[in-house]
């Protein structure tokens, strides 16, 4: 079936299957930042935005994104790099596999929450697993990034 959606500000018409999920559609169309982890809504690696809301692309039927704006890491490169520099400074990125989904969630949080506490940050990021870092460095990076954004 044919459908039209906007990916990173570019309107595209795609031929999709009714049971296709955005993770597969996006990867097939070259948006390779979108990662597959658990494939069952549990790890956050595949996080993207649909109409500026952070969702899991492994569980989002592509057909439901018709006429909506889909954003992947490729579409927010400037902001992503800005935050990723803080991650690197804190030694909070190791294999990097979790990074795209993690960054998309952090950027969504930065837009949604005003001056979040440490507890609120942890809570917002509950759905993002990282097998390497132990999270402490990531929390330091987020706090420094938010401080930088606020000044």
């Amino acid at each position: 079936m044919n459908m039209t959606l906007t990916i990173n500000n570019k309107k595209v018409t795609l031929d999709i299957k009714p049971d296709e999920v955005l993770l597969d559609t996006l990867r097939a169309n070259g948006y390779l930042s979108v990662q597959r982890g658990c494939d069952t809504s549990s790890c956050g690696l595949c996080a993207i935005w649909v109409n500026d809301e952070v969702v899991l692309s492994c569980t989002y039927l592509t057909v439901r994104a018709a006429n909506k704006n889909v954003t992947t890491l490729e579409g927010v490169q400037k902001e992503a790099k800005e935050f990723a520099d803080f991650l690197a400074d804190e030694g909070a990125d190791q294999c990097g596999y979790c990074a795209p989904g993690f960054i998309m969630t952090v950027l969504a949080m930065a837009k949604e929450l005003n001056n979040p506490s440490e507890e609120e940050i942890y809570h917002y990021l509950n759905g993002n697993l990282c097998r390497c870092t132990g999270y402490k460095g990531q929390i330091r990076a987020i706090k420094k990034y938010l401080e930088f954004k606020n000044n």
């Binding site: 952070v54 569980t59 969630t105």
Partner: protein, 260 residues
């Protein structure tokens, strides 16, 4: 793996119901979270997105929650957060992560009546009602006793109760399914409602224990009523005996928080 032959987005509830009933493997789509975990061949997947069921509104004496409302909306909506101590928001905030809660829907979560639900205990103690397209309006506790019958859950209705409520749970780690969960309501008129879920069966009201609290019985005696009144079982997350013991600790904890 799940396969879907056709995706449909009807323009009326009547049409959605007709399509649902027209084939054994047709189903309603919620946020797709639980359907995705299963393995089945679906003929028609019915999306309720055109039916304006994504709302949380209030009247003088009720709060109305549409089936298409996301769990995240329940978590952050001011009407829900300010209602009886924000017990519903507390409960759902434990479910997976923000991204998931942006997708998962209230209608699917209530209709599916999962034993582990972090939403049902709060709704039970608040005397929620459900409106089904075919089955009509009924109390949630009645709905939870029923067997599955194909229908569409249209909205959840909360009476505006005056009082305070608390949700609590025991889980191995955040984001995991609960081992046991529950909620307690204390009304301004001295009424108590207690619900325990993840037994691992569906959440259920503990009527005798609530009556004992209303009669002024000591909480240490009341917690002993829970394993007698409600049935507990064993699954991968915990044994029957563990849950029976933990149900006492859970009630005691919730009672302490709801304000003695």
């Amino acid at each position: 793996m799940i396969t879907i032959k056709e995706y449909v987005a009807p323009e009326s509830l009547e049409e959605a119901y007709e399509i649902l009933m027209s084939g054994k493997t047709n189903l309603i789509l919620g946020g797709f979270g639980f359907i995705k975990m299963g393995s089945r061949a679906v003929n028609k997947a019915i999306d309720l997105c055109n039916l304006s069921l994504d709302y949380i509104t209030e009247t003088e004496d009720e709060i109305l929650i549409g089936a298409e409302t996301s769990l995240r909306a329940l978590e952050i909506n001011d009407i829900i957060r300010n209602y009886c101590g924000g017990v519903i928001s507390q409960g759902v905030s434990n479910i997976v992560g923000v991204q998931f809660r942006n997708m998962a829907k209230v209608g699917a979560s209530v209709f599916s009546r999962y034993g582990f639900s972090d939403l049902l205990p709060s709704l039970l103690v608040l005397d929620a009602k459900v409106r089904l397209y075919k089955g009509g309006l009924m109390n949630l506790d009645d709905f939870l006793e029923r067997d599955f019958e194909k229908d569409i859950l249209v909205e959840v209705i909360l009476p505006k109760k005056k009082g305070m409520a608390v949700y609590d749970c025991i889980r191995k780690s955040t984001g995991d399914f609960p081992i046991i969960n529950g909620a307690i309501f204390k009304g301004e008129n001295g009424q108590y409602r207690i619900a325990i879920g993840s037994r691992p069966q569906r959440a259920k009201l503990a009527i005798k224990a609530a009556k004992a609290l209303e009669n002024g019985d000591d909480i240490e005696a009341v917690v002993e009523i829970i394993p007698e009144e409600l049935h507990f079982g064993t699954n991968i997350r915990g044994s029957k005996e563990y849950r029976e013991d933990m149900s006492k600790a859970l009630l005691s904890r919730m009672y302490g928080k709801v304000g003695v």
